[in-house]
Assembly symmetry: C2
Homo-oligomer: 430 residues x 2
């Protein structure tokens, strides 16, 4: 039996696209880890009737669990707790002990903003301490408590609703406590632990996988018993396969088929990302890395330092947006730029070598390209990017034509560079 | 009368959080520009019954228009066109001219990937050329055509459905043609052109706006006639006000009240972003800028070059992740680091001065901080960031304590730095 969950993100700022929704995807990942199927993600405004309608729709769709985020703040339009109480037919009551605990959180904050009015704060405090009868309170991380609200007696099979605050940090910190409540456990009893696998490839079009799927079927692999989805992310192809217990043989046969057919472009079969793969390979050799970036202007350096602990392997880099900077910071010979242009394999090589030398690193990466929308020519259209990775044993250089707008070209250039570092570390040179 | 629209994003990869949804927010912004209220955004998987259920729910919620994205590809699980045809009670028929036009797009692609099977491609091609009776075809940008499908005769007031492809570039390129169809125009007739305004502030907590709202009400400003929403984005507070025609006086009174009360922290009242404001101010003076980044490791340089044309003002920067790099590339005296630590106002100042000098720029920015999760101490906890902006007339330095995780600390540091550049350009110095 599969356990189904829906997610409701409330907030006009998300619906009107002024804020990127970070909670929906995060909750989806956490629910899947628990073997729960996420079937719908709904974003609605702050109006109570819209939140209520979404709750009803997800319940009608057979949700066993609904997670909401947002609408728990102190302001007048924060009404999610009340709406969920109505939906679950549970009257609200003041939890005085909770009111006191919230007040102890607010007091030091008030000292920081001395001109706030205590009365107004007290009133907001009380609103946040109203709890639907029979609900479990999740202790506040910010000032808003979360709630786990079981279905009413009149609808015993109906969904349990987990009510979480909007700020991602608060929501995330509260999640574990939510999953440990009795009401949550009761709602998700019987969740099937599917087997999931992920294969990642770089350097082939997405349509190739459709053809591989047909090939596998023709070879007698019962792929129709599996749930296979593919998507293109940051220039990489991801193939996700999910199977129910007992389908391991066909699951393995399919993975083997893909691995054989795409051995040259497959770089990950265990959910690992290229960022982590490159990091691990560098650490294994004890090598350091440095960057010289033109069109990506720091994005690769930022990506290499996204995760903690990167200071042991990332020396630093130079952002050489104009030509004088290329010469001053990465020792690129101005004559080379004059002869071949700033976007050329020759300059990419000089940048990579320059980064290695300037920062005394084992690996240097040079990126130069035309991110657009302007600056393209017939010979070097927008999307032309030259990348060199340079190491103690040689260099690897590529000139490619990347699709997409300015931001996609910049982002894909960093992905290409990481894949080239991997290939260099595997021993590939020009 | 307000015109209501819902958005349905299909795709297991979005629902399972492997891909970030770029289409929902983009469509929301475009619809709002046309005076259309976006009331729901729904993400569902690739199963036809789930897409159909979402269409029915949005129709029941009173949508005049529904936009879908995704599910138009050549693979077997791409079924959106068929589902919408069923929903609008319009049988599908092959459009032979369209089939031919798609084939002419595919032919050159096939030349690029010579090992693909022509038969399979032909079959996929035919599937994409099936069109619901009475629908308007939107010419393919990739290989998938879009559709505008009017409601059936049995439900004349029902929503018109705009069916768009999943790849953001294709969807965006097709949008204008969709809005120019007769069926689209008929569905959105009567959209009220609301007046919207945006005030942006930096350096106050969100709760301040709730208090300002009460203050305005107490002063007799009829704020309840307005739709006011606030949100915190990248450390900035945004206050969006929307009003119907005829409410200009109260709208203006509210804006005036906020501007008076928050004059010191208000930096934008015309939708402009701090990035654009800083860019314009630099260009007005003809000044160039350079960066020396430690904890942000290139994020500020990348942000300064996000938009085209930045090469005239951005000289470049150095990413000085380790201490040796700070000295080698930004001339920071090692004795200064030894005396005050790498995260200190002294080192931030030296970095800013060093960036100015190394890249011969008018403004230098130095950022050093502890992004976490490790590396904090009692004296300098995680989130401690020191920023200096240095110009021809002096320096401005701040040491702050930023909330959030590693990625938020890094992102907010770049926002703080931009605001400090603005203040420096307004003549503020230490």
């Amino acid at each position: 039996m599969s356990v189904r969950a829906g997610i409701i993100v409330t907030g006009t700022e998300v619906l009107t696209a002024r804020t990127v929704d970070r909670n929906g995807p995060w909750l989806s990942e956490r629910l899947q880890e628990l073997g729960i199927d996420v079937t719908q993600l709904v974003v609605v405004g702050d109006r109570p009737e819209e939140v209520l309608s979404a709750l009803r729709w997800l319940a009608a769709e057979g949700a066993d669990l609904i997670c909401t985020s947002g609408g728990l703040g102190p302001t007048e339009d924060d009404l999610t707790a009340q709406v969920v109480a109505d939906f679950q037919e549970r009257p609200m009551a003041l939890d005085q002990a909770l009111e006191e605990r919230i007040w102890r959180i607010l007091e030091p904050l008030m000292a920081r903003w001395p001109h706030l009015e205590e009365d107004a704060i007290r009133q907001a405090n009380r609103k946040q301490a109203l709890v639907p009868e029979g609900a479990t309170v999740l202790e506040p991380v910010g000032t808003a408590p979360g709630l786990v609200v079981p279905p009413p007696a009149s609808r015993p099979g109906g969904p349990t609703v987990v009510v979480l605050p909007g700020p991602p940090r608060e929501l995330q910190a509260m999640w574990r406590a939510a999953t440990e409540t009795e009401a949550f456990a009761a709602a998700v009893t019987g969740a099937v632990r599917y087997r999931s696998s992920m294969l990642r490839m770089f350097g082939i079009p997405e349509s190739e996988i459709a053809s591989t799927l047909r090939g596998a079927r023709d070879s007698g692999v019962a792929v129709d018993e599996l749930e296979i989805t593919t998507c293109m992310r940051r220039g990489e192809i991801e193939v996700v396969t999910r199977s129910e217990p007992g389908e391991d043989a066909v699951h393995d046969a399919w993975l083997g088929f893909v691995k054989d057919r795409h051995a040259d472009t497959l770089f990950s079969d265990d959910f690992s990302l290229i960022d982590q793969i490159v990091t691990d390979m560098l650490d294994q050799r004890g090598w350091t890395i440095a960057t010289a970036e033109s069109c990506t202007a720091g994005l690769l350096a930022a990506r290499l330092t996204e995760h903690p602990g990167s200071s042991t392997r990332v020396r630093g880099g130079v952002v050489v947006y104009d030509n004088a900077a290329k010469s001053a910071l990465a020792s690129v010979d101005p004559a080379l730029i004059a002869a071949h242009g700033a976007v050329s394999v020759e300059v990419a090589e000089a940048l990579a070598d320059g980064a290695r030398a300037a920062l005394a690193a084992d690996v240097g990466v040079g990126i130069t390209g035309i991110a657009g929308p302007g600056g393209g020519s017939a010979e070097k259209p927008v999307g032309t990017v030259c990348v060199t990775v340079s190491g103690p044993e040689g260099r690897l250089t590529r000139r490619v034509q990347l699709p997409g707008d300015r931001s996609e070209v910049r982002d894909r250039s960093t992905t290409l560079a990481l894949h080239m570092v991997r290939r260099l570390l595997l021993g590939e040179h020009n």
